[in-house]
Assembly symmetry: C2
Homo-oligomer: 415 residues x 2
């Protein structure tokens, strides 16, 4: 093909109209190529791909998140500018395109998982601690420490829909923790200072009906909802036992279960209160991290009685069930946070002890359980294990990784 | 802004270079717009969108499928040329981009859910009846009637990986039914003619290890796997009861449960054998369609004993649990296939009777259960119900719709 300058030279002594025609043709061709290149390279036109195998990894030290995919186990993008991501968590839009990331600094960030961009961000309080997305995907709720309460936003544009100040009897606002979604466009959460559980029902529209359960116990510090969305259970920092609310029967009120739960904290220093959202359910048994003890408790979910204990390597932090319920994976508080142990859910035997490295902060199973992703903070690394053979399938660099959130959470109640 | 003709007129008596410049500018602008329009409209560049809220609807009479989305409840595309889709079903790639559709004519079609195209298609047997995708998403298996057996393909390109002829003792091939995936890259299926259950283990590579369970009962006609992938249960056409295999303990072999299941078929003509994949699990109870009776059976999954019966409007076909386990939805065989009934899973009371229209063939819940999609074949219509209020949220035209398969199945064991 001729170059543009050669064409110009050849045509320079011809009459005007052909010159113009060649100029036009050449320039239009060049423009076409440029426009096509722009269209292909345009970061606003990401490659078409499914979103079922995506995950978001919190990089707490740098205020960034990594977007990874779990089919080839590779990194796709890094998104920056999310603020203070210590203790950050994320939920997904129902189409899985967007992740909503809850930062410690009150920031609520909407990450476009397919474009690898920050689609929207609001700083909605001074200090927050997690959130949830409504069953229909239209509302995102954030639980706040400062000022205490819950704020609810449109998932679309993060515009404020409802503000629920968590006022106590004394007029002061309470810190709010353990916020989860429940079927019926409801959110349930606990008031640390007030010792209450509140249920906000948005089924009639964007202004909620509030139902308050008082005197549920001192200082609820975290909570979970069972995978079917029926049981809301709050851990109590200020006393022993757990507070249980049956959402099928809120009229029955909150009752105390496992009255000894938390006892024995004094025997060993508690390095970290365990995460209750880490409860693993296998069949009708739940596996629960003991507080301050080197034990995982086994609970019968019909009677809510303890039916067994498993001695483990350290103080458990997350106790996670493989999706088929056959294995329970456990990580630990300092000084044992370099270790993961695997319990057989049927025999309660320890079947594996892994040493991924210092600072194992989180584990997340791929949706059907064939692999598990592990954050190893101090090694700046993600490790992917085969859950059948315990072989390392992949290692990926990451900046001080903590929470890992797979897009399959979009289809799950309470996640 | 000036029009193109006005610009020409104004510049007609000026010297050449400015004229050429205006021409060029104008033409380039026009070209830009055209190219952008082409880029936007290019069917090979589908819009970037998440895949978490997609569903595929079988249109059996026309050999086509509809791709719909469940956030706005709209149709996105129709894909044609899938052959005989009577009794067709589908599974999803782990990234949810592709659906694998199993047609009755032995056709295995790979549908691109985002592009709305047929990505690949092979006719792999003369007559087939469903399939499954391996836990890691790499293998797609199809169960065949003619010739009997299972063929296993790479999900990537539908190239053949393994052929498992289901040979009986007499050297004849058996029809294969009830094919499901199980954790550990396994497929489990039943042999109609031979009365056997086979397990094909692909964990060591693409050539399976086969384990065969013989004398499991006469003519297994359908099967299911529990949501955790542990229990494989086959219905028996040739005798009463069900055959249960505990995949955590294959060494214990197959045992018979519910010995009276199927008895009473003679009391009423059986219009359609119920679908076993329709078993609904809520807590530790399973809800099971009775055979030939206007009843839904309630089974305790710990003891495998029948613990209750619910009288319903007709002979149940699908018995489906809302994802939170609170409601059980039931459709019926002719002549009652215009009706759906809803059972409260806790009280066993009938809470609703709906009349969507003649030919209610299938129901599929949105992943978190807020809505359910219903195929009404004879009305050529899909209906979307709010599961809390039972209001109709949307109606969409469809050509003789039957099965509805949501992309969230990608993340589930046994679906």
């Amino acid at each position: 093909m001729k170059s543009l300058s050669a064409q110009r030279a050849e045509s320079s002594d011809e009459q005007q109209p052909p010159v113009r025609a060649e100029w036009l043709t050449t320039l239009l061709s060049t423009a076409s190529v440029l426009l096509l290149l722009i269209a292909i390279a345009d970061p606003a036109r990401a490659a078409v791909r499914g979103s079922g195998d995506l995950a978001l990894v919190i990089e707490r030290a740098t205020g960034s998140v990594q977007i990874v995919e779990t089919t080839g186990n590779t990194m796709l993008a890094r998104v920056e500018g999310l603020g203070d991501l210590s203790h950050a968590s994320a939920v997904y839009s129902r189409d899985q395109r967007y992740a909503f990331v809850f930062g410690r600094d009150g920031g609520l960030s909407k990450v476009d998982m397919l474009e690898g961009t920050l689609a929207a961000r609001v700083v909605q309080s001074g200090n927050s601690i997690g959130g949830a997305i409504s069953q229909d995907g239209r509302l995102v709720a954030v639980s706040n420490y400062e000022p205490g309460g819950v704020k609810v936003f449109k998932a679309d544009d993060l515009s404020l829909v409802a503000d629920i100040p968590a006022e106590q009897a004394n007029g002061q606002r309470s810190k709010v923790i353990g916020l989860v979604d429940a079927p019926g466009r409801r959110f349930v959460f606990s008031l640390w200072d007030a010792g209450e559980i509140w249920m906000a029902d948005f089924s009639a529209g964007d202004q909620p009906t509030l139902q308050k359960f008082k005197d549920i116990g001192r200082n609820p510090y975290d909570a979970l909802i069972s995978p079917d969305g029926r049981y809301y259970i709050a851990g109590l920092f200020g006393e022993d036992g757990l507070a249980l609310l049956d959402l099928w029967h809120p009229e029955k009120g909150v009752r105390r279960i496992l009255p000894d739960y938390g006892k024995g904290e004094a025997k060993l220093p508690v390095y970290k209160m365990p995460h209750l959202e880490g409860w693993a359910v296998a069949g009708d048994r739940a596996f629960v991290p003991a507080v301050g003890r080197h034990e995982v408790l086994v609970i019968d979910m019909n009677s809510w009685q303890e039916v067994g204990r498993v001695a483990v390597h350290g103080q458990p932090v997350f106790v996670m069930g493989r999706p088929d319920g056959r294995q329970i994976w456990v990580n630990f508080a300092v000084p044992d946070n370099d270790t993961i142990q695997v319990i057989d859910a049927e025999t309660l035997a320890l079947v594996e002890t892994l040493k991924p490295g210092k600072g194992v902060l989180h584990m997340e199973f791929e949706p059907r359980g064939e692999e598990v992703w592990v954050s190893v903070r101090d090694a700046d690394r993600l490790q992917v294990y085969d859950t059948a053979t315990f072989a390392v399938r992949a290692e990926l660099p990451a900046n001080k990784p903590s929470g890992i959130f797979m897009s399959a959470r979009a289809a799950r109640i309470g996640l």
